[in-house]
Every structure is written in structure tokens, then in C-alpha cells.
Symmetry: C2
Subunit: 458 residues, 2 copies
């Protein structure tokens, strides 16, 4: 008999004379003559209550059905007299798939610290919190694809392996098949798998630009890597990035898209993950509901960088990092603007070109570029983007000014030589978005198996 998901059973429109469910025991309570099993199968946050009368088939296995045990239940779906649930299962047969020894199973019914659960990342999705988190992560992934597909964007798989160390190899992981136990020859790279040095990508943007100038509107959504040796709650060596890129678009179109994107994602996820998100709003961060409202309810403030600096200078606050034209916004500044001054999302745009990347489009003022960052309360920067420099001469001049190696960018420059068009895009760190959604403050806790300096378990 095919098993029914507990989510489906709990949403049933009617009682069912015959049903099979399977899952893991969360708790068991024994009464005189019968027992209750709370069963969870990961399909939703809620457990289903199973009533086990003495003497049914498999009743002798009940003592082994402790917290964490995997069981298969047959029975009928009947109205539940208990509160908070419409249905329960009256069992007719029990089957034990796999026990979980109560003396050694680490996930007994009590709250565990995030640090403890991180050390058993292979088991933590069995808890309410991490089950909910990874269901939300999955729905958020789908909502990203949906958002872009609904608008005619084509999904592009940007390469993970890249030959380019042009973007700052210092923070890139090198990839090799050389035998590192031997001393490497001078020409080692020539003997390597790709015949040259290979690295893990830090961004799919340049690939996306090539495709945007062919398919019009595209996005990448894939893993990216930073070999930054910083052990903070906000950095991981491996994380996922969403990067749309679209042609015949300027910085204002880019800001529109970013705002629409955040609003739609939050709205859809509130609808679809209500129970899972409520867990976080209740137990992790009571400010979540207000934070979502602030994103969804009103237009994002749009603020030129120069004005942002003026506001910060006039704030009377003593910031750790100084403010003034030419200085980058630090998290403390971003949060002041979004949390205190505007109390909602702010898009800062037209940054000084000195603090931004070579590919950003130069404004006519001769000192700023068409870059924008979306800042939200509690998180700071959630999205960073720009209009790209589509003018060949300007781009070449910028590469030269910055002392970059033009030979690294030949194919990228060709995109401007042939059929160039204004285009723009942005990047959103997917994990940072999940932190915004759940209030979880450590990036390690929104990734199935997180990778950070000296941590590569599982």
C-alpha cells in the first residue's frame, strides 16, 4: 500500500477507512490500554497523532518505537478529538523500519543548541527547526525560478570552473589534478588538467552578460566560492548566488527588478511556507513579520549615494567607519539608513567609481558609476547590482586605468564590439536572503552542509 504524506493526510477533506503513513517518531506516550505516537515524515512541520490500541498487529514492537525510530503505520484516518488537529490515525498495524537507541540517539526531545546541531549536520534536518528551514530553502529556490520564468528570463548554468584569475585570485580556490605530494615543476600549470591554472567561480556575471546579449533576459543561480579566511557568522566558502542580467535595460530598470523580486519572493513564501515561517517568527526572531511588511507594503526609497553620505554625516551618530564621498558604505551605515532613518528598504545608487568594479557603467558626472545596492533593516546589503559599461572605448579605458590585464577580457570586450546594448544586472546571495527570511543569524545554519575555514565535515 502506497504511503500518504503526512501533509496530505492532515489536509484530507474526509475520513479515510484505509491509509498508510511512514515517518519518524517524535514522541510516544503510553496510557493504560493504548499509546499515542507523534509521527513526522518531513513533508510538513506538523506531526500526525497515531493512536495505538493494545493488541493490534505489531503491537509488540511498540517499546522499540522511541524518539527517532522509523516506523510504518497502517490504519484509518479519523477525526481527532484532540485540539489543534483535524485528523489522527487509528492504527491497525505497526511496522518498525529502523530503531533509534534511546541511550545513544543524539536528538532526544529537548531544545539543542545550534552549535551542537551543526556538529551533527547529517541529523539536524530531523529537528523541527532545521526541517522547517530546509523546506523554506527549497520553496525559496523554486520561487526564484518562478519569478524569472514568469518574466521571460532564461536560466543559464554559468560554469563553476574558470580559467580566469582576473577577478582577484587571492580569494579564489585553485582546482588541480596535479599530484601535490611531488615538487611541482615550473611548468606545472601546463601539465594540469586544463593545461593552465583553474579556479572556482566567484560570480556568474560575465557568463550571464554573454547570454543576455543573445537571449535578452537571463539569470544564473548556482554555487559560488570565496577562499576568504574569515570566520564570521556571515561568511561561507561555498554559497549560492542568484544573478539576473538583462539587455536594453538601465540602472532604473535594474532597481525596479530588484524591488519586484524581493517583494514577490517574500509574498509567495509567506503564502506557501506559513507554518514553517511561523516557527521562526515565534522562536527565532519576533521581528520577522514587521520586517516582511516593511519590504512588501511600500515602495523602496531610492537614494543617490551622495545624499546617503549627507544623511549619515548629519545623523550625529559616531560611526566606527568614517563617512564622506569616496568611502564605501559599511554594514553599520547600511543598517542606520534602512533601520533608523528610513525604517524600510533603501536603494542607494550612483556610487563613486573608485570603490566599484571596472565593468560598471560610468555616469556623465565623470566621478560616479551606475551601481546600486539594496539595503534592508537588520541585514544591510541584500542585493548589489549595476548597469554594465556597454561602450567599448569606455570599458577599455577603465581596464587600462585600473591596471587590469586586457588579455583576460578579450571575449568580454567582444560583446561590446558586436551588437552591444545597454544592459544591467544584480546579484543576491541566496543564503543572506534565507537569513532575512528566517532571522537565523549564522550563515552556517541555513546551508545543508556548510563549508568554512577548517570545516569540511560530511
Amino acid at each position: 500500500m502506497k504511503r500518504t504524506d503526512i501533509a496530505t493526510a492532515l489536509a484530507s477533506a474526509s475520513a479515510l477507512p484505509s491509509i498508510s503513513v511512514a515517518g519518524w517518531v517524535r514522541t510516544r506516550r503510553d496510557q493504560k490500554g493504548f499509546s499515542f505516537l507523534e509521527l513526522n515524515d518531513g513533508s510538513c512541520l506538523a506531526n500526525i497523532q497515531v493512536v495505538v490500541d493494545e493488541g493490534i498487529e505489531g503491537f509488540g514492537l511498540l517499546p522499540e518505537m522511541t524518539t527517532g525510530a522509523a516506523v510504518v503505520i497502517r490504519g484509518s484516518l479519523v477525526p481527532s478529538p484532540g485540539k489543534g488537529q483535524a485528523w489522527e490515525i487509528k492504527a491497525s498495524r505497526l511496522e518498525l523500519a529502523g530503531p533509534a537507541d534511546a541511550a545513544t540517539y543524539p536528538l532526544q526531545k529537548k531544545r539543542h543548541s545550534d552549535e551542537f546541531l551543526r556538529a551533527i549536520a547529517h541529523l539536524r534536518p530531523r529537528t523541527n527547526k532545521y526541517g522547517a528551514l530546509f523546506r523554506i530553502r527549497s520553496e525559496a529556490t523554486f520561487a526564484v525560478h518562478e519569478f524569472f520564468r514568469e518574466r521571460g528570463f532564461t536560466h543559464v548554468h554559468a560554469p563553476i570552473l574558470t580559467g580566469s584569475d582576473c577577478e582577484g585570485a587571492g580569494e579564489m580556490f585553485r582546482v588541480t589534478t596535479l599530484d601535490l605530494r611531488q615538487p611541482l615543476s615550473k611548468d606545472a600549470a601546463e601539465e594540469d588538467f586544463f593545461g593552465k591554472e583553474a579556479f572556482l567561480t566567484v560570480s556568474g556575471q560575465l557568463s550571464a552578460e554573454a547570454f543576455a546579449l543573445a537571449l535578452g533576459k537571463v539569470y544564473t543561480f548556482g554555487p559560488t566560492f570565496r577562499a576568504e579566511n574569515s570566520n564570521t557568522a556571515r561568511h561561507a566558502a561555498e554559497f549560492w548566488m542568484v544573478e539576473p542580467e538583462f539587455a536594453f535595460a538601465d540602472i532604473h530598470d535594474d532597481m525596479d527588478l530588484a524591488e519586484e523580486f524581493l517583494k514577490q519572493l517574500i509574498t509567495r513564501l509567506r503564502e506557501r511556507c506559513a507554518a514553517d515561517l511561523a516557527l521562526f517568527a515565534t522562536w527565532v526572531d519576533k521581528g520577522l513579520t514587521a520586517a516582511f511588511d516593511a519590504i512588501v507594503d511600500k515602495p523602496f526609497v531610492r537614494l543617490p549615494y551622495g545624499e546617503a553620505m549627507d544623511i549619515l554625516a548629519a545623523s550625529g551618530k559616531s560611526f566606527e567607519h568614517p563617512v564622506g564621498w569616496g568611502r564605501d558604505l559599511q554594514t553599520e551605515h547600511e543598517r542606520y539608513l534602512a533601520e533608523k532613518h528610513f525604517q524600510g528598504p533603501v536603494i542607494v545608487y550612483d556610487y563613486p567609481r573608485e570603490i566599484k568594479a571596472f565593468y560598471m557603467r560610468q555616469n556623465d558626472d565623470g566621478r560616479s558609476v551606475a551601481a546600486m545596492d539594496v539595503l534592508v533593516p537588520r541585514i544591510g546589503e541584500i542585493i548589489g547590482g549595476s548597469q554594465r559599461e556597454e561602450r567599448l572605448d569606455r570599458l577599455e579605458q577603465r581596464i587600462e586605468e585600473l591596471g587590469l590585464d586586457p588579455s583576460c577580457y578579450q571575449w568580454y570586450l567582444e560583446l561590446r564590439r558586436f551588437g552591444s546594448a545597454p544592459h544591467a544586472g544584480f546579484g543576491m546571495g541566496f543564503e543572506r536572503f534565507l537569513m532575512l527570511l528566517t532571522g537565523v543569524t549564522n550563515i552556517r545554519d541555513v546551508i545543508p552542509f556548510p563549508r568554512t575555514p577548517r570545516h569540511l565535515e560530511f
Copy 2:
């Protein structure tokens, strides 16, 4: 004025007095007093025809609007007198975004070889064939997510970086931040970013198993890597894999899921990518329609491995590789079974345990495991899967028999120690599926920027 996608314009229900489109010129034909531009913006295979009357605003730019030039057009959408298109645009204003010098732009209107286009992978999505291909790739990605989500599977991002070289490091890429220009010390791995050797993943399966035994039904869909130095049309160093994994499921459930998966994917993509797929059925492989019918129309044959060997032995064919119990099926055998003998998809199952991985569930016959491969005409194996060994003692015994290092598998074994349950899954190479869909025979031509031995361009 916001640009309208050409796909949207061509599907318009009515004429529009005012419209803006933008895209790249495919051809221009000049007549006396007016010109035709065929414009493509990547939103669909079809171009829109733009009629340019002498003397409209921007008319002087027309000579620069050669093949490949990026242009922005304003005008009205009017019924087209030409055949094969309902609508065309009567231009009122032309704007040149970026020219494409006719003497040097490599994509002039003629057929180019796949080899030539591979060398300009940054430009090839501007051709009909590769535009269609990458739109299909995008829709196929979405269809994968849709299939699993509709069935309650949670998407899991399996880690790309892995500390395990247990699965055969010979074919794995090593990842490092060590300075390889210096001689490495004996304890180099200890000084590396993760404090030990790190590799790129070859499969998300083991991670998926951990999540299946918590969330019930999950799948991974991400990049995987093989450092295999083989320069064939079927191998790439970087490719994407789809790997579902589900609990309380056996090998028969696994076969059911795989069959349903292929049937739904093909059906949805035929509906959604009709024009793009027709290009491949017309110009690349005239057998595509029949191949799709063979997958969709009838149940897949299910054939125990032993019987498959009997059929091959009795075939009278002289195969390059010998047949008989204990030998693996080679592509020639797979294709004989699917193309000649059954003329449709075949699922071969219950393989000898000697030729299959340690984690596959041992059958009661003492010599086979619950593994299955889906074979389709022209491709051979498209999906490989198995029921996993959920019994701790059997799994430990198998690890010992094969001389594997049990310390590599501690967390994996724990999944069997606590709440173990029967579970199964499979893997499908996404690029191989795209080759099935399009008839394209070189894997390099279904990947945006392919990575193969000594090739790491762009």
C-alpha cells in the same frame, strides 16, 4: 517606453498602435523606398519583421543595421501580409544600440559548424540553433524542479566541496588555497584552507540520503565534476546531475519514479518548447519525434539483468565486449536492447553486486543488488539508480569486503544506526538528457561554456 518581448508581440491578440521592441538584426533587405529588418531578441526562435519606410526618424542609421547589430525600434504592431507570421512592426523610429561590423562579425547569415561555434561560445547563443538549445535547457531545468515539487520532494543543495576522497580520488579534482609555486611541506594539507584535502563533488547522493531520512523525499540538482582525462563526445569535466532520494521506497518505487520522470519531462517540454524542439527534429535528427513517442506512449520494459544477458547471448550479434553474468552492460549492449530488441526504453535491474557500488541493497539471492539502469534508444543509459542498503550490519560488511576505509563513512553509517528506513534514488546526467531531447551528439554543445581536458576558455 518599455520594450515588449518579440515572443509576446508575435502572440498578440490584436494590433497595437504603439510598441517598442529591441533586439539583434538577423538580416536586412533593402527595397526601393523601404527596408525589411528581421529582428530577434532571444525570447523565441522566431524573428519579427520590421518594415522601415524611407525617411522615418533614425532612417540614416539603417546602413549600420547589419547582421548582429543591436537596435531599438518604435512603431506599431500591424497584421503582416507575409506568410508564416501574423504580425509585423511598422517602424516609426530607429535607434542603433551597438553596430556589428560586417567585415569582422563572425556570425554572418550562413550555417556554421559546431566546432567553429564552440570556439566562440560567448557568441553562439545568438544563432538559431544555440538560442533554441539554451531556451530548452532552461525549460528543462524548470520542468525538473516542477516534477519533484509536485510530488512533495524538497530540493537540497548538496555541497560542491567535499572532504571525502573515499569515492575514488583518482577522478576527483583537488581544491586548494596553498601556494603551489612553493614546494609543499609534508603537512601541507593541514595548512590548507580546510585543514585537510578538499575535492569537488562527484555526486550529491550521500548528502541526499541524509536529508531523505529526515524530510522523506528530496532531490539534488547541481554541478558535479569528473577529472577523467577522456576526450569523448560524451564526457565533460563539469556537468549537472539530478538526484532524487526518497525514504520508505524500494527498487520498484525507484523504477516507477524514473519512468514517470522521463515521461513527464518529455511531455511538458514538447508542449512548451515546440518551436525550439522542431528546429532539432528538422535540422539535427529526424528521428526525434519517434524517439519521444517511444518514451511517452508505452510502459518501459522491466528486465532482470540475468534475462538481459540471455537476450544478448542469444542475439547472434558479435559484440565488441563479451556478455555473460558478472559483466557490465556496455553502450553497444544497452543500445541493442533498447533500439533493436525492445524498440523502446528498458529498465534493467538486479545487477551482480560485484559490478555495483557498496551502498546498493543486497538482494536475498546473495549475488545481486537492487540496482537499476534506464536504457533508451540512441543514448543507452540515461538514468542509474538503486535501492540503498539500509541495514547497518550488511552495509558495514560490504564496506569491509571491498576494503573501503570505514572511517570515511561514519556519519553515513549513523543514518542506519538511528531511524534507518528503506530508501532509494537515482541519478540522471542533465546534459545526457538534453542530448536525448535535441539529438545533439556532442556534450560540449549542450553546455553554455563546456569544460573538457585542456579546454577552459571564457
